[in-house]
């Protein structure tokens, strides 16, 4: 069979329509489309794609099952290593991970692994996920702090090993960044709920409204009989630029903006009680996935014009290629090589943002070319809302109340990369709380490693 160089396209909501609604943008493959795409996989003997996946999904195997029409088996195959396939199929930066390693890249486009993963997971979900095999229970209790991707992964793996796992969440809803951060149009919340339901069926307990570090400290958890703790508390305080005008009304952190919209459903205001200000011209500062999410939410909330303001060029943008592509299709304006220097306001409200043009100089510590201001290129953008999407510093609460937990100068919990072990015996950590803002799948990878390490720590076999 001749090699198909181009991947099977996935149906999407029309940009002109979707820019004003919160429904999912990408519509997924049909069974025929999925089988057609799966047949492009040449089933490498030594598959590099698996190495590219932080949780080592058995990619060629699950794709083979799709070619055979065994879609539910394909989903089960993925779930052997990935507890949240419907999520990962949608939000992983596949083009930097599994798909980057695909041999088809040399001649054409890689196999659309992410889309196939999503297809298999969705297919199974629609038909009802089979009851998980109940593991043989041990009497050992493990606490997981945070119900985001790191915590959910660690909890699932530990529950499968028979541990009595309780997940503590500080918010009123489970899912962490999957519910407060990533918008509905990219990751439907009903789907996150279903993934969490499967964990409940595995026997994982969930407790909301517990702010670890305050409501319960790590010491309390040990006193209450937990024998190991995994910390996956995720993102903390948002970063600002430290430029004049950031305290003006109408300047948000992306965390605030997205949480208002996603978790608190401010787009339904006044049906939902949490409000968000209507803005006409919005500038989002930053070039990551969070910036794209904030910009596209602003558009959906009715803004006339939304700008992404990023100090480097598109090549350096950390956002997933697909998100940048979708944002452009929807009419988001990209002001690249542009950096804000001051936010301007009247009567305490934002009215504009002064920016300066940048050019790329020599590579900096991150290996990317350092942006340098172009003298005399200052200009003023008229905007009535500014959203800062510049990353976050780790949540400070646990660090300040836990004895013997070593912390980086910038606030991250110090944890062994291979095991997640912290400076305190029995306490493991992973995800953004350790690395600073990163991706869902990296957090899941860390949760997985830590679960294995906790198992070993509690006397289990590797």
């Amino acid at each position: 069979m001749p090699l198909k160089l181009e991947r099977t396209p996935m149906r999407e909501q029309d940009p002109a329509q979707r820019r004003r609604n919160f429904d999912e943008v990408a519509l997924g493959y049909s069974p025929d489309e999925a089988m057609k795409e799966a047949q492009r996989c040449i089933q490498c003997k030594r598959p590099l794609c698996v190495d590219g996946c932080p949780v080592h999904v058995q990619i060629p195997q699950f794709i083979k099952l799709i070619t055979e029409g065994r879609f539910e088996d394909a989903a089960q195959k993925i779930k052997e290593t990935n507890n949240l396939p419907a999520v990962c199929g949608r939000v992983c930066p596949q083009e930097e991970q599994c798909e980057a390693q695909c041999v088809l890249n040399r001649k054409g486009q890689s196999v659309a692994i992410g889309r196939l993963e999503r297809f298999a997971a969705d297919y199974q979900m629609e038909r009802g996920i089979p009851a998980p095999e109940q593991p043989i229970k041990t009497d050992k209790k493990v606490a997981v702090i945070g119900s985001g991707p790191a915590g959910l992964t660690a909890a699932a793996d530990l529950a499968k090993l028979g541990y009595d796992v309780t997940v503590f969440e500080s918010f009123h809803e489970l899912g962490g960044v999957l519910v407060y951060g990533i918008p509905e149009f990219r990751l439907p919340k009903a789907l996150v709920k279903q993934e969490i339901e499967s964990l409940k069926r595995l026997g994982v307990n969930f407790v909301t409204n517990v702010i670890a570090g305050n409501t319960l400290t790590i010491d309390d958890l040990f006193d209450d009989g937990y024998q190991a703790v995994f910390i996956g508390t995720g993102a903390g305080l948002p970063k600002f630029m430290d430029i004049p005008g950031e305290s003006l009304n109408g300047v948000y952190s992306a965390n605030e903006y997205l949480t208002r919209v996603n978790l608190m459903k401010a787009y339904l205001f006044p049906k939902a009680d949490t409000p968000i200000k209507k803005a006409h011209k919005v500038a989002v500062v930053g070039g990551g996935n969070v910036a794209m999410d904030a910009a596209r939410c602003a558009l959906r909330l009715g803004a006339d014009e939304v700008h992404i303001v990023y100090r480097r060029s598109e090549a350096e943008m950390p956002a997933r290629a697909e998100e940048v592509h979708h944002a452009k299709e929807e009419g988001i304006i990209f002001d690249l090589l542009t950096n804000p220097i001051r936010i301007i306001g009247e009567n305490g409200r934002v009215t504009g943002m002064e920016c300066i043009k940048m050019e790329l100089g020599e590579p900096d510590a991150s290996g990317r070319r350092r942006p340098m201001p172009v003298k005399g290129s200052e200009f003023i953008m008229e905007v009535d809302a500014v959203i800062m999407a510049l990353g976050t510093t780790p949540n400070p609460l646990i660090a300040s109340t836990t004895h013997g937990l070593d912390i980086q100068p910038w606030g991250g919990i110090i944890a062994d990369e291979a095991t997640g072990a912290t400076s305190r015996p029995g306490v493991y950590a992973g995800g953004d709380a350790v690395t600073g803002a990163a991706t869902v799948i990296l957090a899941m990878g860390a949760g997985k490693k830590a679960a294995a390490a906790i198992h070993e720590y509690l006397g289990g076999k590797k």
Binding site: L237, F269, A272
Partner: protein, 281 residues
């Protein structure tokens, strides 16, 4: 779900609720706050802890009906439940090394002041208290606070009881005319009251702590909405506060930020009143 064990009307539109929340009660300290959500479409609002009972596992909150959320909350009765109730949040107030303190509470600000005064009394600190309100009917917790303070002074805007005027007038009288000296002034109440008090104590070099209650969303150190300018620094009331140095807080900015959602707050209230019923059931 968190059960309301006791509800009392303390003043017109001011309520006290004792809520079953054993985990929060186990850890609560004076100066800390909780975040609650009345029902599943509700917003998260912060309320400073007015009392706690570790044995009973309860937290007491005092609030005034102002917006939609506090109206919905006030509509709940004993035996009913609050959907979400999380805490304790923020840093506990610190009283180490103090000998004489003047504690000032304006309006419902008396509520969070109460556990602080009691704690200071337990620590052997002499506490004078000024409580202020619109009128006699609006004064709350006077009798509860009395046993724990050396002197208590009352001020009402209309003179219906106590001094006819503001708490700041009483403060001035105490330090200017009576020559009272204090190691610290603690002021909790409306922003304008805390601003005026801080302005006076600055003249007399009396260190002053105020409790900030800005717009918050998550309350756990994640969204950055509650930023407050304190001196040259931007602080977050939820994790760095809510107590801050009153001489350094930028009150004008805080007032501006607090008013940001005024229109939406009015709209929400209007929708509630037109709907005519509680939407939580």
């Amino acid at each position: 779900m968190y059960k309301i064990l006791r509800k009392e009307k303390l003043a017109p539109s001011v309520y006290l609720m004792e809520v079953e929340a054993p985990l929060v009660a186990r850890k609560a300290q004076p100066g800390q706050f909780i975040i609650l959500r009345v029902y599943d479409m509700g917003e998260r609002i912060p309320l400073t802890i007015a009392d706690y009972d570790r044995d009973k596992g309860t937290i007491t909150i005092v609030f005034q009906e102002i917006g939609k959320t506090t109206k919905l909350l006030a509509a709940l009765e004993e035996g009913q439940y609050i959907q979400d109730f999380a805490g304790p949040l923020g840093k506990p107030s610190e009283f180490d090394g103090l000998k004489t303190v003047l504690a000032i509470g304006g309006g419902v600000g008396a509520a969070p002041l109460y556990p602080q005064v009691r704690r200071m009394h337990e620590m052997g600190i002499d506490v004078d208290v000024i409580l202020g309100a619109k009128s006699k009917d609006y004064l709350i917790l006077t009798e509860e606070i009395k046993p724990f303070c050396r002197n208590i002074y009352i001020a009402t805007d209309d003179g219906s009881v106590g001094y006819h005027g503001f708490v700041s007038d009483v403060l001035k009288k105490l330090v200017e005319e009576d020559g009272q000296t204090y190691d610290r002034v603690i002021a909790i109440g409306p922003l304008i009251m805390m601003k005026v008090v801080s302005g006076i104590t600055k003249q007399y070099d009396i260190p002053t702590i105020v409790s900030m209650n800005p717009i918050m969303m998550d309350g756990t150190g994640m969204c950055g909405a509650c930023r407050v300018k304190v001196g040259d620094e931007v602080k977050h009331a939820c994790v760095d506060g809510p107590d801050f140095d009153g001489h350094l807080v930028d009150f004008d900015e805080a007032m501006r930020r607090q008013a940001f959602y005024k229109d939406e707050e009015r709209l929400a209230l209007l929708t509630l009143e037109e709907g005519g019923q509680c939407q939580c059931h």
